[in-house]
């Protein structure tokens, strides 16, 4: 596969390390009363859709950026790729 790196353009997927569901960005607040439940969900309960999936890829043999890649797991079509740090900052602003 080819990953459309937002800074570097199309790069072979072999340069990347795959992590999984991008919901890992949403780490729960450890100080909240329901932290134990929230962390259980965060660590163990993730969707595994046959279809469009936002997932984390690390450009290990490249610029060491973590990317959020939106990929259709049925066709391997890649719909979007963005820097995770930008997305993480954005979601913080929204919250």
């Amino acid at each position: 596969m080819l990953i459309p790196h937002p800074l570097l353009g199309l790069r072979d997927a072999q340069e990347f390390t795959y992590l999984g569901d991008a919901s890992l960005l949403n780490r729960p607040d450890a100080s909240s009363p329901d932290a134990a439940v929230a962390f259980f969900d965060y660590v163990y309960l993730r969707d595994n859709p046959a279809g469009v999936h936002r997932e984390l890829w690390f450009h290990e043999q490249g610029d060491r950026s973590w990317l959020i890649v939106t990929r259709n797991t049925l066709t391997h079509e890649i719909l979007n790729a963005e820097l995770a740090c930008e997305s993480a900052v954005k979601s913080e602003v929204l919250a």
């Binding site: 800074l7 060491r64 740090c85």
Partner: protein, 184 residues
């Protein structure tokens, strides 16, 4: 000046050199390196007259060169300055930036062609999975090579530097040499 004797990344006294066909592969043991990272909100500095190049670029300056390695991060190169405390020099020029000594983190192989880019192209397409169409002079990138991580810098039409992690030097050297031999 220390009385300890430095050795090359390949464990030798003299730098490695290998010539075959139109290609020369030469280890550059005198290249000083320091990484420079910007803190949040900082602007890119100018180091000894060299400004920090754009994404994926390498830029030669009067005293030092620099290439982009990651968002807000560059490697600064000091040719012939491997025996100096190069990181301290860079840090002095950019006191607010995070500077890390990298000189001995890497082994640098300069590959020269005596016949334009073609022989280099022939070598690189056997080694790295990058589109050489987009690898013009002044390009710097990181990619995988035989399961190792390398930086590639296109310094001129006929000169490419391949940098690998120092402890992988022997394996990288073998990859370059054996591939060059197989090209004939």
């Amino acid at each position: 000046m220390t009385d300890l004797m430095a050795i090359t990344a390949l464990g030798a006294v003299a730098p490695y050199e290998f010539q075959i066909g139109g290609l020369v592969i030469r280890e550059n043991t005198e290249l000083a390196l320091a990484s420079l990272s910007l803190g949040r909100g900082q602007g890119a500095p100018t180091i000894l007259g060299t400004s920090m190049p754009d994404v994926g670029q390498w830029l030669a300056g009067p005293e030092v060169s620099a290439f982009w390695t990651a968002p807000n991060q560059w490697f600064i190169e000091g040719e012939g300055r491997a025996h100096e405390d190069f990181a301290a020099i860079v840090k002095a020029a950019a006191p607010d930036c995070a500077v890390t000594e990298q000189t001995d983190g890497w082994v640098a192989f300069d590959v020269y062609s005596n016949d334009g880019f073609k022989p280099l192209e022939g070598l690189l397409e056997k080694l790295v999975n990058i589109d050489l169409n987009g690898f013009g002079v002044g390009t710097a990138l990181r990619t995988g090579l035989h399961h190792m991580s390398v930086y590639l810098i296109r310094r001129s039409d006929t000169h490419v530097t391949i940098m690998g992690m120092r402890t992988f030097a022997a394996a990288l050297c073998h990859a370059l040499e054996s591939t060059a031999v197989r090209l004939r």
